[in-house]
Amino acid sequence: MNDDMTPLETAHINDTEITPEIVAEHGLKPNEYEKIVAHMGRTPNMTELGVFSVMWSEHCSYKSSRKWLKKLPVSGPQVIQGPGENAGVIDIGDGDAAVFKMESHNHPSFIEPYQGAATGVGGIMRDVFTMGARPVANMNALRFGDPSHPKTRHLVAGVVHGIGGYGNCIGVPTVGGEVNFDSCYNGNILVNAMCVGLARTDKIFYAAATGIGAPVVYVGSKTGRDGIHGATMASAEFDDASEEKRPTVQVGDPFTEKLLLEACQELMASDAIIAIQDMGAAGLTSSSVEMADKGGVGIVLDLDKVPCRETHMTGYEMLLSESQERMLMVLKPGREPEAEAIFLRWGLDFAVVGSLTDTGRMVVHHEGRMIADMPLEPLADGAPEYDRPFTPTPLAPQIDASHADDTNITDALKTLMGCSEIASRRWIYEQYDSMVMGDTLAGPGGDAALVRVHGTQKALAISTDVTPRYCLAQPVEGGKQAVAEAYRNISATGATPLAITNCLNFGNPERPEIMGQFVECLEGMGAACEALDFPVVSGNVSLYNETNGQGINPTPAIGGVGLIEDLEKAVGNAFSQADRYIFVLGK
């Protein structure tokens, strides 16, 4: 295949010689590079190296975590789609399905809090609406550094504005979340966004591309040089220098996303779509590789057709760009005109950028030459999987409670009420539109949020929970507790807990003690999910949350979803009347 490459006329990015430095800049280890060469049967060119680097990044490949994720319980009669798709899907009766997922946008939010958080919200909503669901609720789990740290204020303000700026504009209520402050997040904040959508069980859309010759279609916004290397950035430890590097930040455009949502819903009402996937991290690359790989086909792309916002973009840049508000679809052949009409009416770009082949390879053309030709299997399933060494977390020392008796209870209570951990979050959640769509039965301020299934008496209960301090002290118990807390919060509204998503935020997995936290938290989570019949249907892993060698506390955020059949039976958390009994349950 290599011989087909057009002879080189002018300096082309692919003419650059691949040196060990270039390999390292792409975040690839020397042995990983050797594997790439073996898979290719030759030296990759720059474009191919770029594609491998993003597909094999921790963010896309889950290379350190896959082994452990496989152990989580993922099935149950309520599960329609477990992990592996854009989002998980559960059955909520009467032909209705809840579609949900949680995802991190930690590093981008540290660099540019407003846009980082905004694009995090935009990305997770696309994951949900690509499945055919209409997003009905957003949640977020935020972790910031010490309130007195000089950066914290700026980061909190930016992140909260960004979440609101995106969610409020698109018109999906933000119904809850959690916020903690701890110095371990000083240099590494966590911004985890969750989205829940509703679909009909017979109208779920998947990413697997089938049908040799079927057109591959690009829709949404134009491609710019946004966030190139974002995916690799999300997988590399931070140091002070990378803040200076200032990668081109992705800017969110919620207005366009709203149009994209409506246009997709309109096209989804027909049967023209074979497969659809959002262009998230590693944009065009990961979406085309994943779609083709899942369907067991090949794909050929013509980058000259890709709508671009900037001039002279190289193929490398187009493949790696993380411009927002874009989707890739495979349509039934011949259905392009009707799809195009819909997207144009909504003022969005639409372009046929390729087609499916039977080669099992991804072939990319640009400006009259073939710039990449690579086997799909090693890009996706064939990515490295590591069984990283780990050390168990030593038992935390007992807290010395001997002086507790000297404390005046009232003073202690006042201190507690005033501490940043417990203080009211109203100032945050009032900046989010929690009521739009007219189905929010219980918004922020309670245990779990309650969102009515539009037009029915049913409601979804949603909660995000984790207590990183517990996970640090005893990861197994902390993992269990996070799941149990989500379960309790959902139960407390009167709903039956059904399934969870998660966002596993940890430090550098190449350090055995961090890996130990990861392994043990997952063990606890898995055990709790098993015991409670509360399976995991989607999730996300964010590793390397470290700055200058200081890792964050293990923070496996859980997003739980439950169902209440009759919303008349829902209960709030207020003591609503005098002269009522108060019971304490449990032990």
């Binding site: 504005h161 504009c169 698109i170 900046q431 539109d433 009521m435 769509m437 007219g438």
Partner: protein
């Protein structure tokens, strides 16, 4: 009674208000796309909340210039009732049907919460079912709801009873001049308001204070 809801790209309370209108009128409202130049005959036209055109440039500015607004202005001149809620209020000031302008909230934050409102004028077709001076609870959700106009205009509005709704003095969420939450034109048929009556029109959603606006409208216009 026939209602129409104008849908701009980026409107996001169009469905919510349509549900309230249908409940009050017993008929589905027409949903009219902003790009249309044809507006079916309607007794009331609603400009819904949301972020038309992403709220870019100035809230409501681009929507005010869309083709359908020419029709809305014509119909208003011919006596149709027009209700602008939130972003719809911003559109009404931008297109000149109502005076003044909605600026960025004084605290520079988006604010979504219940507010206590005082009905200052119950003689408009929108407020007939409220008592004069009654305090009601209706939520707001906006980033630019800080009503501003020069003193002359404000005096005129006060003097003519055109301040229809105001925030309770200790509950002004955005810094609006004279606690203004909603104003009407001199005919009383065009009302712009920042709070969202459609979000409080059902007991399950916390209360029904907003519902009377829609049922009252039906009573007044039929």
């Amino acid at each position: 009674m026939q209602a129409s809801v104008i849908v701009f790209p980026g409107s996001n309370c169009d469905r919510d208000v349509a549900i309230c209108l249908e409940a009050a009128t017993g008929k589905k409202p027409n949903m009219v796309w902003h790009g249309d130049s044809d507006l079916p005959d309607s007794d009331v036209i609603v400009l819904p909340g949301g972020f038309s055109y992403g709220d870019y440039l100035r809230c409501g500015s681009m929507a005010a210039n869309s083709p359908i607004m020419k029709e809305v202005v014509l119909k208003a001149q011919k006596g149709a009732a027009v209700l602008g809620i939130c972003n719809g209020f911003q559109v009404l000031t931008e297109c000149g049907l109502l005076p003044g302008v909605l600026m960025r909230n004084a605290a520079l934050n988006f604010v979504c919460r219940n507010t206590r409102l005082i009905v200052d004028n119950n003689t408009t077709p929108f407020t007939g079912l409220y008592q004069q001076g009654e305090e009601v609870i209706i939520p707001v959700a906006h980033n630019e709801g800080n009503y501003f106009a020069d003193d002359e205009t404000l005096n005129e509005l006060s003097g003519e009873g055109r301040i229809v709704l105001s925030y309770a003095p200790d509950d002004n969420p955005n810094g609006a001049c004279r606690n203004i939450a909603g104003i009407c034109d001199s005919s009383g048929l065009v009302l712009g308001m920042m709070p969202h009556p459609e979000r409080r029109a059902e007991a399950a959603l916390g209360g029904e204070d907003g519902k009377r606006m829609f049922t009252g409208l039906v009573e007044a216009l039929s």
